[in-house]
Amino acid sequence: MIESIISSIGIGGFAGSMIALLIKIAIVFGVVMLHVAYATYFERKVIGHIQMRLGPMTVGPHGILQPVADGIKSFFKEDVIPSGADKAIFKLAPVVSVFAALGCLAVVPFFDGFVLANINIGLLYIFAMSSLSAYGIVMAGWSSNSKYSFLGGLRSTAQVISYEVALGLSLVGVMILSESLNLTEIVNAQQKYWHGMFIIPQFLGAFVFMIAAFAETNRAPFDLPEAESELVAGFFVEYSGMRFALFYMAEYIGMLVMSSISVLCFMGGWTLPPFILEVFPSLAAVPGLVWFLFKIYFHVFVYYWIRSTLPRFRYDHLMSLGWKVLIPLALINIVITALVKYYC
């Protein structure tokens, strides 16, 4: 759509496609950043109501302008760098975090045909990018030169590496069923089944993915890296102002990315299951982006729901859950899926 508008102005060829890509990137970046801002508001509201509170109410009607106020506050706050810190790495760490989180968005198809880079190794690319998010945390933990951050960084490294294995293995079933690593083709492959969602044959994989995604994004009940009761705030204790906000953004972008992978791989992406469309044919007129966003919001709600319901795991429990429960479950899922695929 954007390409045709640009070529109609008269800019064609390589330059035209580059400009179209830049415009698309700007759109995706803007929309995602808005979502990040309001995901914090949504989180505080949801958790507030679950705990019988109202959540933010002061800034704007029902506190609707709270994220704007928070953003302005953190932008103008003093930026403190500890004197014992390794300055270059200290400054680089939040950038790496945000880069790793935003990088994943390049291959996420938001609706049919709208994807920044439609590459054949989409899923592998996302694994590569999400494995980088550990570096932001490790670098922050090490360079701050503080015991709390260092412990948070070490914990997080071990946690992210362990759960990455389960995360990767849980998606292998989806790869087997769809015979592709391209996210658009994975969504199209789900449409060939009556259920239209891989969560039904792949419930084991979806379960493992969901838990591993919580650990990968360092969200409760796996927020050991920041465990405020033991480590004050974990790896970003020493950060303030905008650099602190960057870590916060990276966490929320990571959450949105993990939700969107779950939506694309297990819940049919921007499509509706065929059996629902047969009953309500008029729903086909609704644009796919609406369904995609609805499914994302549901996932994000589940993140908040679980955060306000479950207490934090103890560290050894976390490790044994990852290695002794989730990885074997994911392996069983791969074997069963492969056998069913081969013999049926």
Partner: protein, 167 residues
């Protein structure tokens, strides 16, 4: 022309980063430069149309192995490491060997002759997608070396567990 410019950039910065890796006083800085280096190597794989290898390069080397490196180095007593000299006494021998290898490579680059084109041309791989092409070769034609490699890895895993359990 554009690919050439990109390649020149990657070649120069890879050389620069390799030098940085071996000259930094702080081992953590060395590891971080090395991660940057791995990214650039992945980009060179992309130039060779090996997108699968590029992704695996980042997932395995940058994502897993270097994190473990960083983990170990951070756990070591850094103050001693920083004070100790970065180069052992025998470094001139290493430089001589390096120069010898570079001359050999440069010499062979100018006398290289392209071999016959196999069945896995760029067009053929783009048609089947990269992951599928690698997978079907690995599990049919090269199944024996593949299984040997997995056995070697299994031995390493068992060995690591035995070492860790020994008190």
């Amino acid at each position: 022309m554009t690919p050439k410019i990109f390649f020149i950039y990657f070649a120069i910065s890879m050389t620069f980063m390799s030098v940085m890796v071996i000259t930094r006083r702080n081992p953590v800085h060395s590891v971080l430069w090395m991660i940057g280096l791995f990214f650039h190597i992945a980009a060179v794989y992309l130039f060779l149309n090996a997108e699968f290898l590029a992704a695996v390069q980042i997932i395995l080397y940058a994502g897993a192995i270097m994190v473990l490196f960083l983990f170990v180095i951070m756990m070591l007593n850094l103050k001693e490491e920083v004070v100790a000299p970065r180069f052992i006494g025998e470094w001139p021998i290493g430089v001589a060997l390096g120069i010898a290898i570079i001359t050999m490579i440069i010499y062979s680059v100018f006398t290289i002759q392209p071999g016959p084109v196999g069945e896995h041309t760029i067009e053929a791989i783009q048609k089947t997608t990269h992951a599928k092409a690698i997978g079907s070769l690995l599990y049919t034609k090269y199944i024996f070396p593949f299984e040997i490699a997995s056995l070697v890895l299994l031995v390493a895993v068992v060995g690591a567990i035995v070492l860790a359990k020994k008190r």
